[in-house]
Amino acid sequence: MHTLLEILIGGIANSSLYAVMAIGLALVYGISKVFNWAYGSFFTWGAYIAWFLCVGSFQFGYTIAFIVVIPVMFLLGLSVEKIIIRPLRRQKGWEINTMMATLGLALFLDSLARLCFGPYMKSLPLFLEKNIQLGSFVIGLHEIIMFLTSIIMIILLEVFLQKTWTGMCMRAVSQDKIGARMVGIPANKMFGYAFGMSASFVGIAGILLSPKYFITPGGGWDVLIKSYVIIAFGGVGSMKGTLYGAFILGIMESFIVYQFGSMWVMIFWFTTLLGTLIIRPKGLLGTWE
C-alpha cells in the first residue's frame, strides 16, 4: 500500500512536469504551426545552464538558476524564430522547411552541448533534500516543488492567454492567422513570443526533472517524443486534453517502471496512443484545426 502511494505520488510529480513540457510544445505548434524538433535540445540546454550555474563553475542556488534560465531560454526561442524560422516562412513549402531547420538546429545544439559539457552524464542536486512525513509515508519535498511549480506555470499561462492582450492575440493568431493580421495583430511577433515561451517552459521542466534523471547531450529526444505522444494522445488543439493525457500517461509510467522496468515505458505509451487513435483519431479531447 505504501509503495503504491509512493509510486502514485512520484507519478503525479512527473506528470505535472510532463504536462508543462507537452503544453509548451502544443503552444508553439498551435500558434506558429511549426513543429519544433529542437524542443528536446532546449530542455537539455535549460538543464545544462542550471548545472553550470549550480554545480559547475559557480555554486549558486536553484533560485538563481530559475532567474537566469527563464529569460535566457525565452531569448533563445525568440532568436530561433526570428533568425531561422521567419525567413523560411516567406517561401513556399515552409512547413517542411522549418521542420528540417529545427531538426538541424537540434543536432547542432546537442553537439554544442557535448562540446561544452562533455559526453558524460551530469546531475543536478535535488531542490531540497528534505522529506515530509505524512502519517506513515514520506514524500520528497522536491516532488512537491515539481508539482506546485508546474501547476503555477499552467495557471499563469491560462490567465495570460485568457486575460492579457498579448495572450488573446496569440490565441487569435492560432485560430485565424489572416483574421489576426486583418485586425492589425503583428503575427510574426506572436510567433516569436510563442517560441520564446515554449522554450522557457521546457527549460524549467529541464531544471526540475534533471535531479531525478541525468542530463546528457542527447537526452532531449526522449522529452520531445514524450511531449509529442502526450499531445497526440490528449488531443491536438485541446489544453485540457494535453493535461489529462500527461497525467494519465505519467502515472501509468510510474507503475510500469515499478512493475516492468523503464525500458517498457515507451512501448506501453505507444500502444496506448495507437489504441486511442484507432478508436478516436482526434485523441481524447482533440479538435480538428
Binding site: 492582450w165 488573446m168 492575440c169 490565441r171 487569435a172 485560430q175 485565424d176 489572416i178 483574421g179 489576426a180 493580421r181 486583418m182 485586425v183 492589425g184 495583430i185 503583428p186
Partner: protein, 258 residues
Amino acid sequence: MDLRGKSCKITWLEKFIWGRVKIMLEVQKIDVFYGEIQILKEVSLRVNNGEFVVLLGPNGHGKSTLLKTICGLHPVESGNINFCGSSIIGLSPQKIVASGLIYVAEDRHLFPEMTVMENLKLGAYNFRARDKIDESFDFVFQLFPRLGERKKQLASTLSGGESQMLALGRGIMSCAKFMAIDEPSLGLSPLLRADVFEKITLINKNGIGILLVEQNIERVAAFSDRVYLMEDGKIVFAGTADDALKNKHLKEVLLGIS
C-alpha cells in the same frame, strides 16, 4: 444616428488637416500579380472623404485582390496607393490598420473559438482604438442589437447574418476612418442583405469612407456616391450609379440583360 461625437473623437487638428485632404484613398495605376499571372492591370481608383464608393464586376476579375492589396495583405508590383495623403505601399497590415484603414473580408475570418465580445475586443487591438474601446462597443451594439444579445456566444456558432454583423462590428472597433468591405451580402437572405446595406450606409453617415465590393448594382445603386466597374483586372467604368445604369454594356454585365 450620429454617434461620431461619441466614438473615435477626431481632434480639431485632424479635422483641419482632413478638411484639406479631400482624397481619402487613391490607388494609382497599380499592377498586381499572383506569381506569373497579372491580376490587376494599371488599376486606378479614388475614394474621397466620407464617400460611399462601390466596386462592381463579375466574379474572379480582381475585385477581392484589389481590396487585399489596399490593405497590405498582398504585394504591389508597380504603382502607388495613397491613404490620407501618404503612401501605404509596402506597409504591414498592422501599420495600415493603425493609420485608419480596415478591411472586412469576404470570408470574414472571425476567430471561431472566441466569443463575440472577444472578437470585438481584438478588433480594437491597435493603440488608437484602445482608449475608445467602450465607446466603440456602444456604437457596435447600437448598430447591431443582435450581437448584444449574443455577447458570450462563440463566433463559430453564429448564423451567416450574425457573423457578417460581427465582421463589420470588428471593423468598426478599430476606429477606422475607412472601411474596405468585400461582398458582405454573400450567402445572405434578401432581407438580411437589405439590413446589411442599411447598416453600412449608417456607418458611412458617421463619416467613415466606404469602398464596397459587390456584384449586383441594383442593390447598391440607392446608397452609393460613385461606382467603378472592373473587368479582367482593369477599371472599365467610373461614374455615378445612375450613369452606370444608363450605359448599355454595363447593364449587360451587371444585370445580365442582353
